[in-house]
Each structure stands twice: as C-alpha cells, then as structure tokens.
Amino acid sequence: MSLDAEILPLDAEFERDADPVSLEAESGRRLRFLVCGSVDDGKSTLIGRLLWDTKSVAEDHRAALIAKGSKQNDLSLPDFGLLLDGLKAEQEQGITIDVAYRYFQTRKRAFIVADTPGHEQYTRNMATGASTADLAVLLVDARAGLLEQTRRHAAIVHLMGIRQVVLAVNKIDLVGYDRAVFDDIELEFRAYAAKLGDMAITAIPLSALKGENIVTPARENIGWYSGPTLIEALEIAPTAKASDLSFRMPIQRVSRPGESFRGYQGTVAAGSVAIGDKVVVAPSGQAVCVARIVTFDGDVKVAEAGAAVTLVFNRKVDAARGDVLTAADATPLTGRDFTATVVTLQTDGLKDGARLWLKAAGRMKRVRVSIDETYDLGVGRWVKSSALPVNAIGRVRLRFSEDALFDRFADCRDTGAFILISPQTNNTVAGGMIADLADSRGDIDEQVNLSLPRDLAEFVLGLPAVKARRSEIEVLPGR
C-alpha cells in the first residue's frame, strides 16, 4: 500500500478547497509562533505533522522522505526529523543546533513557525525564536507530566514578552486518552503560569504521531474534549498586541537626493502620525510639524504603527539616524542609566563591567554593563550574581556616557529591545529588554572627544596604556 493511501484518511476532513481562498483576499496577519519542547516530547513529529497535514510538503520532498525510509514508527509515516533538519552536518551528527523557520498556510491563515531545537543552547535559541513570535506552543509528554523543562520554557517565553501560550499535551494516546491525566497537567500548568503573570492559555490533548487534534479533531478517542484543535487555536490567535504608546519613529536614515528635499526615513514603532502633527526630535527636544508623509505610492495623510515611511518637516531641523521622532506630549525615557533583562548568547557569557556596543532602533552606542541578578530557571527565582554564563537570563544595569533614549520593552518592543555586540569579535553576545530608567550612581564615565592628525592618532592608539583599554575608545574616520 502506498504511503499516501495510509496517510490520507487521517486528514480527509482537511481537503484543499477546489477554489482555494487566496491570502490576498484574506485580511488576517500571518501568525508567528514557536514550538518549545525536546525531541522526546515529539516536537519534530508535531511540526512535521502540521506541515504534512496542511499539505505543505511538496511531492518531491515527500518522495525524498519516503526514499530515506521510515524507521521512526509503525504507521508508515516518514521520519519527520528528516524533513526538518536542513543542514547536512546536523543530519550527520543527529542534532540540530540552530533556529529554523517553516512556512505553511491553511485556508484561513498563513504561519511562520520557529523551530528552536538544541539542548545546551536551548535558552539562546528559544530567545531568538521568541523575539519575533506572537505565540508559543509548549509541548508536554502526557506520560511524563509537567517537567521542570516546561516551566523553564514558560518562564523564558514570558520574559520575552509573549502573552499567549498553547499547552500541547502530546502522546495522549499513550495514556489511554485519560481525561484525568490531561486535567491534572493543565491545572498544574495554570497554577505555575499564574505566578509568572499575565498569560492566555489554551490546553489541548493531542497525538502528533496519530494526527489527533492537530488538524483533524479526534472526536472518537477524545470525545470528552470540546475545545479547538491545534490548528484552530492557531488560526484564531491574535497577533501580538501593538504598542499603546503615542507616536514613536526612530530615524533610520536621512534622505537628501537634492537640495530641495530632506526626508526622514523610518518605520513607525508606536501610535500614528498625521500631516500637521507636531512632533519632537528626541533627545534634542526640537519641535517640528509634519508637512508631508511620502511613500512610493504617493503621499498619505496618516501613517500607523508598522508603516515604513519618509517624513518631511515644515522647517529645517537638526536630526540624524538614531534620534527618535515622538509625539510632543509623550517622550521616551531619557537618561544615562537603565535597568534591563538580558539573555546571553555566546560561550563567554557576560562579565560584570563589560564594555560593549549596544544596538537599538537605529542607534549604536557604547555601554558599560553591570550585572545584578541572574534568573534561576530551576527554582524560578532571581538570585544575586556578578557574572552571567552563556544561556543565562540576567538583570543588568546599562550605563551610557551620554543620554540614551528607550521605552520600557513592556510598552513598546521596537524602542525597548536591544542587542549587545562585542567590540572584539563583532558578534552578538546578548539580547536585551529595557525594564526602566535607573538612578544614576554618580560615577559617570567622562568621555572626551579628541580630533587628531592621522599619524598622531595611530601613535596614540599604539601606546600600551591606550591599547589596554582599546574597547573604551571610539575611532571615527576623519571628514
């Protein structure tokens, strides 16, 4: 019997429409989500099943899978891990080490799923996948119940600002479709999640391997469950809430194609802007009026959050990349000291007092990072700490040598998120979220700008005392 003949009855209810509704006509936004869990929980099977049952696996890929054989199970299903492992080196070692993005759609919605595998690098990969996600699917093995791992995943997801979760209780077939097992897991999870804070939870009993409650409802075996299937839950989930703040637009680039035109290019991060609006250039505080909102498709009267536009002002103003255009009555937090939560991404972790580059919306700034606390995922508590290893979550203080501008991450993702970059390796060492403005501790790092002839600058940079603190020095090319 052919593979397809065995598979199709499972998802017969999900036939493609003869006349598929195109997403062009569909008004919904694509949902981005990540799936958290280990191979043992059946994560690859779950994602593979989603792709397979939504007919997102093309025939040549299906054929390639079948050719590789199916050793995973006795249902003649292909080994979905083979479908998901993109990299040859990973296949050879049997491990996946990175974040992979998969694309699929149903009649109602398009999806991007972040597959964030890995064991040791788990926190880092999850944080990466979660940073752009609207929702997280937390996978639990019904036989094992709620493990510490699931609590960790929930904590990371919550820290990264995700406020909706699907608790997928997998392998429900292996506990005899026992409702009591499912109820216990759901209850225990809700109790834990309540401690984390605000979080919308949908718990679903399912079997990824058998395709029950993934795309096709399992009415016979799980008759006691009347909630949505996984795909239904994903189809109706709202995308992440837009910021409630007033107008924010970090200037990405100043466009000056000729003397007669000066436009400020950027993406609206929060609120909206209309022709005639008075806006403030932060941090300088100059106020201007919006004369035009220019787009390729013609000028518009209003631009909402998410729109990439070019603003023209009624008068000349001193504004550059890194400045933030804001509503006149609600400027961002401004100061030299901030508190933030960070996730460390590189082997070296993060040391107390590290001097790094910080990149946030359009800005690259020198920053000194002091470490206050680290989050103990095991016990779910913040503990005092002065260094963060890789894959850690920490509370830190950021110290700038001049005023910096942020919003709280909880208020606005685009103006509250940042990455930290090593001046030595140029690699991204941490991702971070602004918590709040902090009190200045007084010992402000004084910066002095010197302008030197090139030969003298090279001599100065070569001095041992200067070399030793090279990372604190910024060299700008001469004009």
Binding site: E59, T132, Q252, S260, G306, A308, A360, D414, N426, T428
Partner: protein
C-alpha cells in the same frame, strides 16, 4: 524639469492607493526596513540582480524604500553567458527604463575556456561561472553588503539562514557560527574584508511573491508564463530549444508544447514545466494546487544530497 525633480515635488494624495493586503504590506514594510538599515550602516552595498521574479520584487521594494531618492547602490548581475536570451533583453530594458546603475560580470576564465554546462557538467560550470564569478565581482567592487532575493521557504538549508548572513573574507558561510538574530535588530558590524549577504525577502513565500507581483503590477520575464515553445526532453528535464548553443543528443528531438518556467537561470539547467498558466492568476491557481516544490526543475540542486548547502558554504548565493 527632470524626472527626479518632478518626483520630489509630487504631493498628490494617495495618487495610487495600495492594493496590498495587510499581510503583504507587512512583508513589504519589513523588507523596506532592512534595505534602509543596510544603506545607513554599510559603506558599499550592492544588490544582486538575477533577473528572476524574486529579483524583480527585490528591485521594486528597493525603489519603494528610498523613493523619491534613486536606489543609492548599484545592481550586479552575474552573467554566466548561458542565461535565457529573453532574460538578458529584459535585464537591459529594465536598467534603461528605471535608470539603474547596473554592473554585469562574467568570469573571464570560464569564458576564455569556453565553459559549457552541457559539456562540463552543471556542478563544475556553476562553481566557476556562478560561485567564483560572484566572488570575483564582490571583491572587485569591494562591496561590504550584498542584497539577494533568497527566501527561507525555498530550500531546507535556507530555512536556517539569517536575514543578515555573515561571510568571512573568502565569502564562506559558517552554518555553525551564525550571529543570533533577535527582533528586527540586525548586527552589521564587520571587520575589513568581511561582508554580509542580506535577504530582505526571507519571510516571503513563493505565493507571497506572486500575489505581490500581481498587486503591484511588476514586470517579469515572459518565460514565467505558459506559451507554445520548442523544447527537448533530457533526463526528465524540459529544456527550452530556442538557442543554437543547445546541441541535440542522438535520439533526441525538438518538440513543441505549452510550457513555462517556475525559476529562471541558465537555459540549459533550468527545466520548464508543462502548463497552461498564461496569466498571474493562472500561475497562482497552479501553485495553490501544485504538489512539487519550486526548485524541482533545477539541475544543480539534484547533483547530490545537500548540494545547496555545499554551494552556500563555498560562497554561492
């Protein structure tokens, strides 16, 4: 008044209201953000222009990103000498129509050797005329950022690609050591000689590209549409037989039928499909019911397992 000056003075309100769905508008906004970020942070960006449908979309979004300013970087086409002749004509017409700064590079070594995908094998030919040629052109231009139209849904190894993909001075891609990419914050810091490949269309799917081409009325090479064309069947591939460089093998014969191409590259390596899809709507319907992936017609992907990943490690786009 010059065209540029006229552009700067346009103030008509919503002269062309956008017909994009919120979904496509979000993808476009994301791509524009990426274009601007690179233009602001890098000294010598370049856009790789392959003349295909994805490149056509990339070019269109680039124009939107900087308007009314012209695109502030050159375009580069790596010409293997074996592209469909219609692609070359389309390329030159587009460059004229849009007043583009287009650079064309062909590997002089391969051209002098008379390298042919038909005689020397697709793998060696691609190494020299695409991968090596691209490295030559990027080095010669001292480009520090190169935009490409690759999408993550194209191929399994692409699914783990970053939007800013870091490359060593010899253009190699280290899959194990990619920079983490969080939110929409892209790390563009590089040392001298290093570069990044940038993929603004990473999150688009093949269907998104077609819906966008339709909504924005973007010109594309006619080979994407089904027409009656002469072809030869070779190793199960439908090869366009419009070019005298294609010599028939013993037993082969020219046939004619309604065919089109889902991806465009070298005519001898890009297989067509039998199709009646003569319009973009037809193509969208066809893809909706298609059960075969887009790159299936590509000879280079079938050479060996993991071939795309291998090519990327060596510097192929």
């Amino acid at each position: 008044m010059t065209a540029a000056a006229a552009r700067l003075q346009t103030t008509d309100d919503n002269s062309r209201s956008s017909r994009l769905s919120p979904h496509l508008k979000a993808l476009e906004n994301e791509a524009i953000h990426i274009f601007r970020e690179v233009a602001a942070e890098f000294e010598r960006p370049v856009m790789l222009y392959s003349v295909g449908k994805d490149s056509s979309v990339l070019l269109h979004v680039a124009r939107k990103a900087f308007w009314p300013e012209p695109i502030p970087f050159p375009l580069l086409h790596v010409d293997t000498g074996w592209k469909f002749s219609q692609m070359i004509a389309f390329r030159d017409q587009t460059a004229r129509d849009l007043d583009l700064d287009l650079h064309v590079h062909t590997n002089p070594r391969g051209a002098a050797e008379g390298l042919s995908p038909l005689k020397h094998g697709s793998s060696y030919f691609t190494d020299v005329m695409k991968t090596e040629a691209l490295r030559q052109a990027l080095d010669a231009g001292r480009y520090d950022a190169a935009f490409g139209g690759a999408r993550r849904d194209e191929d399994a190894s692409r699914s783990k690609e970053r939007i800013f993909s870091f490359r060593s001075p010899d253009h190699r891609w280290d899959a194990r050591n990619q920079r983490p990419e969080l939110w929409n914050l892209y790390n563009g810091r590089i040392a001298r000689g290093e570069s990044v490949r940038v993929f603004p269309l990473s999150n688009w799917t093949e269907l998104d590209v077609w819906h966008y081409i339709k909504a924005e009325d973007i010109p594309i090479v006619d080979l994407y549409f089904a027409r009656r064309r002469p072809f030869v069947l070779r190793d199960g591939m439908i090869i366009l037989a419009e070019d005298e460089r294609l010599e028939l093998w013993p037993g082969e014969m020219r046939q004619e039928g309604s065919i089109r191409f889902r991806t465009l590259g070298c005519f001898a390596l890009s297989g067509g499909i039998f199709s009646e899809a003569e319009t973009i709507d037809d193509i969208i319907d066809e893809i909706n019911t298609a059960t075969v992936s887009e790159r299936q017609g590509r000879a280079i992907d079938r050479d060996e397992a993991g071939s795309m990943e291998k090519k990327k490690l060596e510097g192929y786009f």
